[in-house]
Subunit: 274 residues, 2 copies
């Protein structure tokens, strides 16, 4: 509580407060206490916020009525913005300078860049928020920032499957899986207590070729007695068309690359997103 504030001050402070707490219910009495405002005043403020967020596509402000009620900010991108962001990401990743010997693409700068990752995570948060997952799961290492930002936008914890059992996390659940690209049997583990039994898990990863890794994570989720809410990957390859998992959402498709001409063909996944 900082004394009585003007409407302008309250709107600025409320916006910041909510933007910092996605998917958290903030009670009206919390706002009244924070800003020294009467209930009717705080309600009016919230109405202005909701309308402005709506009109300007800043996300959604949801009001929840009842005893446990309050206000909630839901990060949400409009369809045009999703399309714009997807094209922008496709453009950035198609740069010829990214081509590495052996037909690999250098993507770590994008995958570890806060502003790129945040936008991609907002796409996942928009697509998956109606499924209300209890947590996000990824496997180390490159997809961690993306999975973490998705978890942040959905206000749920992140779990990270490790490729080597770690002694410092207590009892583990370990599975073997066949990596789709390398056709090797690999291992991933997760701390037993990282995913509660019965919870609904959103799987997020940066890249999907054969789908072996995602399939492995699905196995891990089932092994701990939880269920898969959905699977999201930043980029899938066009080939092979048949993946080891069926139901997933990608933001981009890697159509292929021409090593001699130094070209990379990446496009937004229009079909699946619409």
């Amino acid at each position: 509580m900082v004394g009585r504030l003007s409407r302008s001050e309250r709107l600025v402070a409320m916006t910041k407060y909510l933007a910092d707490r996605p998917h958290s219910i903030v009670t009206l009495s919390r706002f009244m206490e924070l800003f020294g405002a009467a209930k009717s005043t705080a309600s009016e403020d919230v109405a202005i916020l909701r309308e402005t967020f709506d009109n300007l596509d800043l996300g959604k402000i949801e009001t929840i009525s009842g005893a446990a009620g309050g206000v909630k900010f839901i990060p949400f991108l409009a369809e045009e913005e999703i399309s714009r962001v997807s094209k922008w990401l496709a453009g950035e990743l198609s740069s010829p300078t990214r081509l590495l010997p052996g037909g690999f693409i250098y993507m770590t700068d994008i995958l570890f860049s806060p502003r790129h990752v945040w936008k991609a995570a907002l796409i996942f948060a928009t697509r998956f928020c109606s499924l209300s997952p209890d947590c996000v799961l990824t496997v180390e290492t490159k997809g961690i920032p993306l999975a973490f930002m998705t978890a942040w936008a959905l206000n749920v914890p992140l779990s990270i499957a490790r490729r080597n059992a770690q002694v410092t996390e207590g009892p583990l659940v370990t599975i073997n899986y066949v990596s789709g690209s390398a056709r090797r049997v690999e291992t991933m583990s997760i701390a037993r207590r990282a995913i509660p039994e019965g919870s609904s898990v959103l799987i997020i990863d940066d890249f999907m070729k054969g789908g072996g890794t995602a399939h492995g994570m699905v196995g891990l989720v089932r092994e701990v007695g939880a269920e898969v809410a959905g699977i999201g990957v930043l980029i899938e390859t066009a080939e092979p068309r048949e993946k080891l998992v069926n139901d997933y959402l990608s933001i981009l498709v890697l159509e292929g690359l021409d090593e001699e001409a130094g070209r990379i063909f990446i496009r937004p996944t229009v079909e699946r997103l619409s």
Copy 2:
């Protein structure tokens, strides 16, 4: 541009816009264009924002004059808030249920929890922003969310050193280092292009015992011809007192634990933070 907005709408939208873009300069003309406002009006809005952010400790709004000028949001925690957050983190991590066989502490839920990590990252952003680092460096895996959120708050890219050389990142720089705790020679690598020569690097990690891993990262930074801006760790152990690096900042100190009584002693690092 969405048509003329009222002051209330502009303040809400500007706050959201700036909060989503920490440490980015937004020009006044961008605001004028976005909200259909005259220059004088936009200037007044910014003045209200700056004052409100200041008065309510929401971070800093900096105005930059000149041709390349504009407005910048700088995430920043007040000293009381840093102290409050540090105590809260210490309390969460001291819970007896975290004690694992062998004297380990289960911390991954906190390290992967968006709301905890965000607060800790804001402490680092507050402490290190005056050093204007060009990027943040960490080593996989547990410290990645914390390092990424620090990078997000400072609006710089993250680089992640890998424990295994990855074939898909192009030319690598690899060093050997002695892990302080295990007294083993270990290896870490980073893509040559991940850290530009001459850049100033902020090293962030979750845990420091002997300081061997941080020392290794310092070596990696020097090897690529960059320099260390600072080192931040979430928790350091009280013993050994002598670390392999001298100049670092920790948020918490693990004083020790009593396995029989099931107690963990973690406190905020008061000396170093004040």
